[in-house]
Each structure stands twice: as structure tokens, then as C-alpha cells.
Amino acid sequence: MRALTFLAVTALAAGCGGDDAPPIECTIGDPTQPIELELLTHDGGQTIAGLQTPMTAVPLVFPDQGGEVLLIGARARNLDACAATMTTSLRDPCTDEVVTVDVRPVHLDATADGWAEPRPDARSQWANLAVCPNAAATRDLQGQGYLLRVVLATDDGRSAEASIPIVPTCAADDITCLCQCQAGYNLGDECPADLVPGTPTACPAT
């Protein structure tokens, strides 16, 4: 009787909690196998793209709190996709310095092909890599090559990583982005109207 009562109370509590949504699929692929990881980019609108080609132009996006960020996603399998942590960094290959790091919990949704990836409209599940402004920049932060690295870790201690050189890129008509991503930009500077995106150049001579 006590067991029945417990079950009834549990069922009632579950019902009252509004937990009648279909169960979320957390285990994606075979967790006994190594985690496989691919990278995605997001233009802040509707466009999601795989990131496989070195020196791909990755759009810089204006976020709610100002500045310019890269939205980088993890596409993965063989993991618990509901309890992952994503560490994303951008490194200057000319100096080997890290420009910025973003660490966040992510929840990846199952896809029809057996992988998991962030929902396009869920920005919090994408790394919001804060690139501009950066007062320490020694060369332009957009239109130049930088090394992107992502480490995806799960609570059971497993992880996978991927890295690729990319070109953070402002839209050609986004003067604020072009201005704030220039080397030498000082916070609050007035921005000239004649800025152009430019093209990647070799590392400056030291």
C-alpha cells in the first residue's frame, strides 16, 4: 500500500510539475567509443555551416551586450549531450597568445543522422567567443587568420578537441565591427566611415 501511495504521489508530483514532455534523448551514439567532434559556425541569423576548410571566413556577430562575438557550435556523437562543457578559444598564430576564452555548459540536441548539435536559435548553446574589442590586440582581429580551438568535455571525464585556422570577418558594411576589431582601437573611439574589411596578411615581422 505504501508503495502504491508512493507511486501515486510521485506520478501526481510529476504531473503537477508539468513534466509531460517527451523524454529528452541525452545519450547520442555509443558512449563506449571516443567522442567525435566537428565544428559549426552561425551567422546570427538562419545560416549554420560546417567548419572544415582552413581559413574560412567566420562571421562576427553583434550580441545583446555589445561587442562582436563568434558563434561556434559543437557537433558531436558518442557522448551524453545533455551534460557537456565547451571550452572555446582563439589564438593569435603570430604571437601564440590566446586572444579570448569562453567556457560554458552546453546541451546538444539529437539530429536525424545520429549526431547532436546546438539548436540554431539557442545562442546560449553556442560558444559566444568575445573577439572585439580587445585592447591588447597587436593586429587586426578581423580579416586576419587566427587559430580556433574547441574542447568538448562530458561529466564522466571524457573529452574531444578540434582546431582549425579561421578568419573572423565583419560584414563589409558594419563600420562598428570593422572599427572595434582594428588593432589600436581604444574604447569609445569615434569610428571613421571609410573602413574596409581587408584580406589576410602574413604575420608582422618581429
Binding site: 508539468g18 514532455a21 553583434f62 550580441p63 545583446d64 551586450q65 555589445g66 561587442g67 562582436e68 562575438v69 545533455c82 551534460a83 571550452t87 578559444s89 604571437t95 601564440d96 597568445e97 590566446v98 586572444v99 579570448t100 576564452v101 569562453d102 567556457v103 560554458r104 555548459p105 546541451h107 539548436r119 536559435d121 539557442a122 545562442r123 546560449s124 548553446q125 553556442w126 559566444n128 568575445a130 574589442p133 580587445n134 585592447a135 591588447a136 580551438r149 574542447v151 572595434q180 582601437y185 581604444n186 574604447l187 569609445g188 573611439d189 569615434e190
Partner: protein, 377 residues
Amino acid sequence: MDLQHHAGRAPLVPVLLSDSSMRLACSLTVALAFVACSDPPEPFHPWELEVLTPSQGFSLRVPAFEVPAGHESQNCYFVRVPDLYAGADVLIDQVKTAINPGSHHMNVFRVKTLVDLRPEDGVPIKLGDYDATVIEGADDYQHNPCWQSSNWADWPLVANSQHSDPNDPFTDWKLPANVVIRFQPGEMLMVQTHYVNTSDQPTEYGAKVGINLYQHQGTGPTQDMGTLFATQQSIRICQHRPSVTYSGTCKFPNPVTIIAANGHFHKRGRQFDMFAWDGVSEQQPPEAARFYTSQTWDDPPMTRDLAVTPPDRGGVWWNCNYEWTPPTEVTCDDVNAKDPDQAGDCCYTFGGNTDIGEHCNVFLYYYPRVDSDVFCN
């Protein structure tokens, strides 16, 4: 409790009472005493802050205003730095604030690029002796420009205080010797107040803020103080993954000494840490590099008298750790309605309202400022 020090209290007047009135009065007294014993109000003495003469600096006073119970208020005041000495730069080496309880934050920024938050759109007001304008955000956190942080994303931080203890409403911050905040006369500042009048951060004595900026009196060489303001984008704290941590980094443009810091989050915030960061590693710095910890969301410590020197080309690393709790003033339906992902998991996302939104902000002060203050989004 010293009643005569309570703002807005009626004076105590002796009166003669009949027997029946006396019995009623005694009953009321006993009842009031019971109420008082079961829920004693915190003592609060209205603060006094000296008004500075131009040779001493300048004083800004946000006039007292009321915040309705269960509401929040965010106001943006615009005021120009006065000309204290024949057009010369104004050098400040001490900031003293006095803030009535219930304050969530008080920030001062230098106004730069104008987007949707404009001084000329404000209503005229006086901040002490100085002409100003104010845009009252009230608790319209979804639409009013005083709540939209992208409007001041390139406005360098000047100073801030999150301290409004009823027992000690003052923050007296003296900069290190010969370190100054440099203003140009006529420079536009924005003083932003955020008051919360809810059960967990009550504004029982009205909202009121005073700021004294003391002019540097020395004649020798000085170094300018720089500021670093950083925020973590797109945070999210959900019921079904209740314990989460977000981390970020921000670099300095030149070798610096960090002199003060405070972290800012809302009701789900459990621990805010800052570390000196080498600017090379992608992992959290070692414990020995930690220089700031806060476990308090409603009156976080402002650590002063620091002398932290991150490695050259380095910066700061921060962690914001949260634990999901239900809202206290609104419902999860309200929280869900604000969630851009519409996940239906009572997820708190970025936002200024403390009951329905979350923050992860770094306020940090250093010297020398060489070319630029620092903002990392």
C-alpha cells in the same frame, strides 16, 4: 532603534489619554511590541556626506525617490564633469559613496557613442549643484533604453558600488598614492542606479545615492587609473541542469597593477572568482592566482587595496557559478516567457531584472591606464 533618525517618520508627540484609551493604547503597545519582537526592523540612520567645495572636488547627489514594493528601478542620470580649475583636467584620487539600502548597483560611465540612450532625451534634474538629465527605466527592463546594456557598450567604466548596508551605507575608496581618475571638464558622465524593492533586497527607506569625487591635491607626477568592465554573453541557468559555471577572459593592453575588483551576478549566483591570467593558457589559472571571491549576490565585496600584477600580455580570468532556484517575485511562466530559446525549463537568461534575469559582470580597476580603458563582452 532611534526613531527620530528615520526618514519620513512622524515626530513623537506626548498626549493625555482616558482610562479606556489607555487600555487600548496598552493593548496596542503590547501588540506592537510583539510585532517588533517577531520581526525587528533593521536600524538605519540616514547618511550624511559632506558637500565638497570646488577645491576639494565635486559632489553628485541623486535625489531621493521611492521604489514601489515588488518592483525594480533602473535610472540613467547624465551630468557633465565641472570645470574645477580653469579648464585643467580634473584629477580624482578618492571616491566616496553613500547609498540607501536596496541598491543593487550604482555605476558611473563616461558617455561615448550614442545609440538609443541619449542625455538629451532625459528629463532635467539636479544632481546636487549640477544640471543633469535623467531617463527613468522604472522596471521596464524589456524596452527602456536605460536597461539595454548594448547602449553603453563602449562607455568606459569610471567607478561602481554594490554596497548599501543599512548599518554602513558608505564606500570610501582611496586610490593608491599618485594614482588618479582623469576627467576633462565638461566630459559627460552617466550615473546609473538600480534599486530593487523585493523581499530579498528591500528598499525600506527610499532610494538615495550620494557620490563624492575628491580632487587630487598633490603636485607631483601621477598615473591614470584604468578600468575593465567585462560581461559574459548568453548565460543560462535552467531547472534541469541547476549547477553551472561560465568562464571568460579579458586582456590588458599594457602591464598593469590591479588595485580593486568586484563581481556582479543575481539571485542564482553562488560564487564569483577572478584570477590573474597569463594570456597564453586556455585552462583556469591555479588557485594561487585567484585574487577575488564573492559568494554574495546582494552585497558582494569590493576588494580594495589589491596589488595584483598579471604577467605581461596577460589579463583576468573569471568564473561565475550558479545554482538554479525558483523566482521569488514572479513565476516560472514569467521566466519562460523571457527565455529566447523557449525551452520551458524555467531558464534564467541575461537580463537586468534580478528576479527574472542573470548577469556575470566584472568591475575591475588598475593602473596605469596608457591608451584605453578595457571592455570585454
